[in-house]
Every structure is written in C-alpha cells, then in structure tokens.
Amino acid sequence: MNKLIKAGLKAIFPLCIGAFPFSFIVGAISISAGMTLGQSTFWSLTVFAGSSQMVALGLIQSSASILVIMLTTFIINLRHLLYSASLSEHIKDYPLHIRALMAYGLTDEVYAATIGEVKQEKVGRHWFYLAAMGGFWMNWVFANFLGALVGSSFPEVAHYGLDFAMVAAFIAIVIPQVKSRECIVAAIVASVTGILLSGLPYSLGLVVAAITGVYAGYRMDLSSERMAATAVKTQETNPIKPLPVTNCEV
C-alpha cells in the first residue's frame, strides 16, 4: 500500500508543477473578482476544476446569474463524462463510496497521470489513484491560497508565460500516446476542430472538438478492421501476413 501511495504521488508530481502556476493565477484573479482569501481557498478546495473556475471568475466579474455560471461549468466539464466512462470500466469492483471519492477528484491531470496504471487492474490500485488525486488536490489548494495571498498585488501575473507549464505537461503526456494511425488522425481532427471552433463561447469548441476527434478515430478503427479482415481473406489464397491491428496504449 505504501509503495502504491508513493508511486501515485510520483506519477502526479510533474503535473502538480504544471498546475501550480495555473492555480496560482486562479487564486490571484479570484481576489479581484471580489472573493476574500478564505472564500477563494474554500472555493478551490471544493470545486477543484481549473478551467471552470477561471471562466466562472470572468462571469462573476460581469455579474452573470448563478444559473449561467452553473450551466457554463457543466458545459466546460462535459469532457469529464468521457473520463468517467473510461475510468468506470476499471474500478467497477469498488464500493460506491470509494468510487464517489474517486469521481470527485477526476480532473484532466489526475486522469492523465493514473489511467495507465489503473487500466492494469492490479490489486490496491485505488491507493495509487487516491494518492495521485490527494497530492494534486493539496497542491491545487495551496497554489490557489498563495495566489490569492500575494498574486493580487501583481495583476499581470497571467502574462508571465508561467501558465505554459500546463501546456508543456499536456504535450509530454499526449505525445507518447499518439502512436497508431488511428490515434494520429483522431488527434489531428480534434486539434483542427478545436482551433476552428475556438471562438465559440464557454469553451464549447473543446467539447465539439473532442467528440469529432473520437468519432474520427472510431471511423478509422472501422476501416482498419475492414482492411484487416480483407487481408485475412486474401491470406487464405495468398499467404501473406495480415495487417497488424494497432492501438494507442496509454
């Protein structure tokens, strides 16, 4: 168990570095949106969703209604539905309260850092996951606290380029995963769609981009399978190797 906790913390550590400046900035902006230090910290501790928090702050500043804030949060986090579906497959044997706890902390970073290990379905994998999640959560709240504490005196902190750490971390995670033809196509379709629709409000473009990319990947799978099937048929009369079925393993 201790070993799994250590491994979980180790897996999330680089992502904590990546998320730190982001959370710091969220903390800093929350002060100018009218939150107190205590409110800001409590907010980060309970909501735990970076991009929604960032967008919500913009909405709070333009005095949007609570209903709009809730709907926007919902839309921005729709991508987590896919994480939820992906993770559920590998933790279905766990009791509901453990699964609820795991769901509570299911962010982009926690998913990215843990899915590879959780997928292997080893005994006690929840310790790995909960350690990664807990580490990330504490880092998130602490960075937010610091940002709220000192960030408010540097309003230009968002322009220092430190938020690029998050992008760098995402690149490091995704590049080794994009190996097969299917995954490359899915990634390119999603990126292009994301760019084309980046003008849509509430980061809605990101949701459409993900769905379009996943659909493209699915179509690629179908055509690859068809080709593999044809190759097998040809093999009966003409014995050559069938096309390998490739996967993008996380």
Binding site: I69, I175, V189
Partner: protein, 114 residues
C-alpha cells in the same frame, strides 16, 4: 482585468460554490456510479481510448494559438516555438524535463522576439 473591489456577499458566494460543485460532480460521477451494473460494449471501450488523444491536443492547440480573433499561427508566436521544443524533448525525456524546457524556451523566445 479591472479591479472592482466589490466583496461577494456570503450567500451569493455559497450558492455559486454549491452550483459549481454539483455541476462538476454530476458529470464526473455519472458513469462511474453505474459501473458494474451494465456491461460496456467492446466497441465503446475500444473507442474510449481516443479520449485523451483528442481532448489534450485540442486544449494544447487552442492554448498555443489563442482563440477566436486573437489567433496567432506563425513562427513569431513564442508559444508555437516553445511547443515544438517541448515535442522534441518529449521524444527522449520524461515529463518534468518537458515542463522545464518548455518554460525555459518560452522565456527565451519571448525575449528574442520582443
């Protein structure tokens, strides 16, 4: 960002927080709470492997190039150059070095191009 220092009143703050917690948790828990009560089709399982390789590249692309009318896709954008460095570094080294080289190269390119 303008500095209007209106304090959020406690009720509004709590309502916003609860609304956001509920919205986030419902999505994250949606499929996980039903796990095991139904068998996910093989096809769906196979297709779900595309989730990380679509969401992350889309976030990266928008983060680097900017959104809507602020888009900047050329080699004068320091983020594009830094992202190329990150990609190359990621072929050989692990995450922590990608992050370090990413921030360092961004600062470098920002300095060079300004």
């Amino acid at each position: 960002m303008d500095h209007v220092h209106i304090q959020l009143d406690m009720t509004t703050f709590l309502l916003i927080t609860i609304a956001m917690v509920v919205a986030t948790f419902i999505i994250r828990f949606s499929v996980i709470c039903m796990a095991g009560s139904f068998e996910m089709p093989e096809r769906l399982k196979k297709t779900l492997r595309f989730v990380p390789v679509t969401v992350l590249p889309a976030i990266i692309a928008v983060e680097i190039l900017g959104s809507g009318s602020n888009m900047e896709f050329n080699l004068h954008n320091p983020k594009v150059l830094a992202a190329i460095v990150c990609t190359l570094v990621s072929l050989r080294f692990n995450l922590i070095w990608v992050v370090v080289s990413g921030i360092a190269s961004l600062l470098f390119f920002q300095h060079m191009l300004s």
